[in-house]
Symmetry: C3
Subunit: 123 residues, 3 copies
């Protein structure tokens, strides 16, 4: 269910970008207790000179997740570890070059489709 | 007043993108009680393969709104419905392919111009 | 420490974009009490027609900062003023065309690297 903005370096192959998106989605499903088909991702390429992480070099990624408040701290920590592990495996992004930031909001702040606020619509 | 990030598919015409931005702005004004000239929008094109909404096909849009806390739940629901309605009319985005996410912040978190925090500057 | 998304007009020179990023980083360090090497920035170019700030013309920038809750209101105000001052000096962005929005989150919402939540990992 989270909306995930994924920033990677520009001019990567489609296969690379798909591997990143797949690994992130797998980490979400493994650790954050969302249904498998709840995949909402926007992938964006950014030039190296426009993508600054403390002067780190080489492959890098920033994940910005927006999700409904309520995830346990331990689950967030599990997500960070799992995302780092999977992205290192495929497509090979070094864990030291992975940054993750979560922003939370409320139940009434989501419309997944159809102009309806699904979390509160059944009330 | 909200800052709205609008993501649509890449390689759409200027007219398409303008129609999206206009429809979103009209929905904001109709439902969220902001002044008509408070339009702050960033439109971004994203390739279909980088733009994942549960494997939905065809035209799609994600709206990410950041706004000051305090909007009523009913007004947010009205916004979702109105945005879906207007975007379906023009430029014809199916409502099932529209996702909207709101993130709230505080009065002190806004500087609209001039390096001043307008909401609190008069205190 | 904040993650800063910087939006400027498309087709600007590398030197222009670097000047924007440097000025923003200097303002962060001057006013928000972060270590000098805590630079996390994503710079994005957006076409003029896709970059709407109340019909303002010419050079413009939007800064979206995500940071851990706890910064004093006075420090945020100092940041807005300093960022406007520095961006006006270099690369010459008029202060009336600078918008800044801050979103806050929690300590457990950050992984700067290595799949670890650095703010809470020592507990």
């Amino acid at each position: 269910m989270p909306l995930v903005r994924i920033s990677v370096l520009q001019n990567k192959s489609d296969a690379y970008r798909e591997a990143v998106a797949d690994s992130v989605n797998e980490a979400v499903i493994d650790t954050l207790d969302f249904p498998p088909n709840d995949r909402y991702q926007l992938v964006q390429g950014i030039a190296s000179r426009d993508f600054e992480l403390q002067e780190r070099e080489g492959d890098r990624a920033v994940l910005e997740l927006t999700m409904r408040a309520g995830q346990a701290q331990e689950d967030k920590e599990a997500f960070y570890a799992r995302a780092a592990e999977l992205l290192k495996q495929d497509p090979g992004i070094p864990s030291e070059n992975l940054m993750i930031v979560i922003t939370e909001n409320g139940e009434e702040d989501w419309s997944f489709r159809d102009g309806i606020a699904q979390f509160i619509a059944s009330r």
